[in-house]
């Protein structure tokens, strides 16, 4: 017995392993089939993903089908990412990460695409509702025909009852049969009346003007609400403009010195550029950056397009800078003289002329004369007048300027 058992054991083992082996084989086969069926070469995956991405520089063409260099480069990047082991979404993100979602031909549901996702379902619901409406409407028409038929039948029954009464009175019919017929007619009459009553209940009521008005108001309000709700899905988008953007600022105070310098440099020939040059120069002068202000004053002073008052201001500043910065008295007086010629009513160049004459040329009498002419001008404010009066007093006294 033990020998037999030993001798049969390998056979049993083989027999027992058969189902498992078969099962394993089946599992392996299925796995192989599945893996073969689902295996997609990189090129196929890239092409499939590329067919879902709209070419940004073409009109509605997927990048997989576009010969545009940008689309070709996008496909190359897509393929590269897939070869590196990126998931499909990661590969798409690598290409579309900086583009709006509208470049994806099957965009995922979001606030802006929700309309696209809801429309098919909404259309189906609306279609079903319409079909139902039409069907019920037809049922209403059938109900009208049925009602007419019932009324006709009612007339027939009344006629039959009248005829029966005439025949009974004339003795043309057996009384027993007459009772039976009258009972049948009466039952049919009751049944027809009931049917007619039910049909009458289904007849639509005529619309009153008030109801029409309410309906119309509701329609208008609803349409307005729809427009507002739809507007929530609409992103504000700027219009495409042509040409170059406006090049000069309306108020120089809103911009940095560098921006003004850039605008001036890029618009050297603009007829209105001198105003900005002067604004920047004045700002730099206020900041005591005379070296930076100088070229802008000079450009205004030399510009044929500059207005007289602009040129006078520039010449006045240049004159003062020539004296104060370089002690060039003659140059300063010449520049201030040009400024006075352009703006004879402006007291400022005349005042500076007096100061340079007094302090630089050491001629207090000439300086005092200039100060007196300044004081004769009417447009001086009180602080300036006081300052000029003080200078005049010192010049008249023959004192050196401070």
């Amino acid at each position: 017995m033990p020998e037999a058992a030993v001798s049969r054991r390998p056979a049993l083992r083989v027999l027992r392993s058969v189902p498992w082996a078969a099962l394993s084989t089946i599992v392996l086969a299925v796995a192989l089939v599945v893996s073969v069926a689902t295996y997609r070469p990189v090129a196929d995956t890239a092409a499939e993903l590329g067919s879902r991405i709209r070419c940004p520089v073409c009109e509605g063409v997927p990048i997989a089908d576009s010969p545009a260099p940008m689309a070709v480069d996008m496909m190359a990047l897509l393929t590269e990412r897939i070869e590196e082991g990126a998931s499909r979404q990661e590969a798409i993100d690598a290409v579309l990460g900086a583009y709006p979602g509208s470049l994806l031909l099957d965009p995922s549901p979001s606030r802006s695409t929700i309309v696209l996702w809801l429309v098919p379902g909404g259309a189906i619901v609306a279609g079903l509702a319409l079909a139902l409406t039409i069907r019920r409407s037809r049922a209403g028409v059938d109900s009208g025909a049925e009602r007419a038929e019932l009324e006709q039948r009612l007339i027939h029954i009344h006629t039959d009852l009248d005829d029966l009464a005439t025949q009974v009175a004339a003795g043309d019919i057996d009384p027993g049969a007459a009772v039976h017929l009258r009972s049948a007619y009466s039952a049919e009459l009751a049944e027809t009346k009931a049917a007619l009553s039910a049909a009458a209940d289904d007849t639509p009521m005529p619309r009153s003007p008030r109801r029409v008005a309410i309906g119309a108001t509701l329609l208008v309000v609803s349409l307005g609400a729809i427009v507002i709700v739809a507007g929530l899905f609409i992103t504000e988008r700027p219009d495409t403009l042509s040409g170059v953007a406006a090049s000069l600022p309306t108020d120089a105070a809103d911009y940095s010195n560098e921006t003004l310098a850039a605008v001036i440099a890029a618009n050297e020939d603009h007829p209105a550029i001198d105003g900005m040059r002067l604004a920047l120069a004045e700002r730099l002068f206020e900041e005591a950056d005379y070296q930076a202000a100088f070229p802008y004053y000079l450009a205004v002073a030399q510009s044929e397009a500059a207005a007289d008052n602009q040129a006078a201001t520039a010449l006045t500043r240049l004159g003062w800078m020539a004296y104060e910065g370089n002690n060039e008295v003659d140059t300063a007086l010449a520049l201030l003289g040009e400024a006075r010629a352009l703006a004879p009513d402006d007291p400022f160049p005349l005042y500076l002329h007096g100061l340079v004459t007094w302090c630089g040329a050491h001629d207090p009498a000439a300086g005092a004369e200039a100060f007196r002419r300044v004081l004769a001008m009417s447009q001086l404010d009180d602080p300036t007048r006081a300052q000029v009066e003080a200078a005049l007093a010192r010049a008249e006294a023959g004192q050196a300027c401070a």
Partner: protein, 205 residues
């Protein structure tokens, strides 16, 4: 019982009609609003995001640069090409603005888009080279894709923290460029502006 059924049916008819009218109106408004709009004008999803970490070779000479190299500065990235008419229109403004802000914490970068390096160099020698601008090439359009470029010229602004905070679509001018930089200096985001036409390829128009 029968009397209650009739109003319900009338309500059904009305509901169906209203549903159709409403759906039609909704679609009309939405589709009409989209009609003729240009997807290129959509807000860039890059705004508010870190600048793409791209390293690009210099147009002239060897070596390459990454935008991250200029962290702490405002970086103005302009995409241009020799075949782009609008790029010629804005070039003076770029030269002037780059020069005005040179050495003041603002770095201009010009990236040649879909352009042969020899053509880009010829273009720059014709219209002027900015000494304060770094000119780069973009092999395989990696930078253009990373920035989401639709057409050129397009200009992006990266703040000192490395975040993309502005985008100008079309040929810009010195005032627009300078204003955007001024805004970033004040801690504001200049956002996206459309100032003119762009083109996607030679002959596009």
């Amino acid at each position: 019982m029968v009397a209650e059924r009739a109003p319900r049916r009338r309500f059904g008819i009305k509901a169906a009609s209203w549903a159709m009218v409403g759906l039609t109106a909704f679609l009309a408004v939405v589709l009409a609003s989209r009609f003729g709009s240009d997807p290129r004008l959509s807000d860039s999803p890059l705004l508010g995001q870190p600048a793409p970490a791209v390293s690009l070779p210099f147009l002239v000479g060897s070596g390459e640069m990454s935008l991250g190299d200029y962290r702490g500065d405002i970086v103005v990235v302009n995409f241009f090409a020799s075949w782009c008419l609008e790029c010629r229109l804005e070039h003076d403004a770029l030269l002037a603005t780059s020069a005005a802000f040179a050495g003041r914490g603002v770095q201009f970068v010009g990236i040649a888009y879909q352009d042969e390096p020899t053509d880009s160099l010829e273009f720059l020698s014709e219209v002027g080279v900015s000494e304060s601008t770094l000119y780069l090439t973009d092999e395989g359009s990696r930078a253009a894709i990373a920035f989401g470029v639709f057409g050129i010229p397009e200009t992006f602004f990266v703040d000192p923290e490395g975040t993309v905070v502005g985008r100008i679509i079309g040929p810009t001018d010195a005032l627009t460029l300078g204003s955007a930089i001024d805004a970033i200096r004040r801690g504001e985001d200049p956002g996206q502006q459309v100032v003119g036409n762009t083109r996607s390829a030679p002959g596009d128009g």
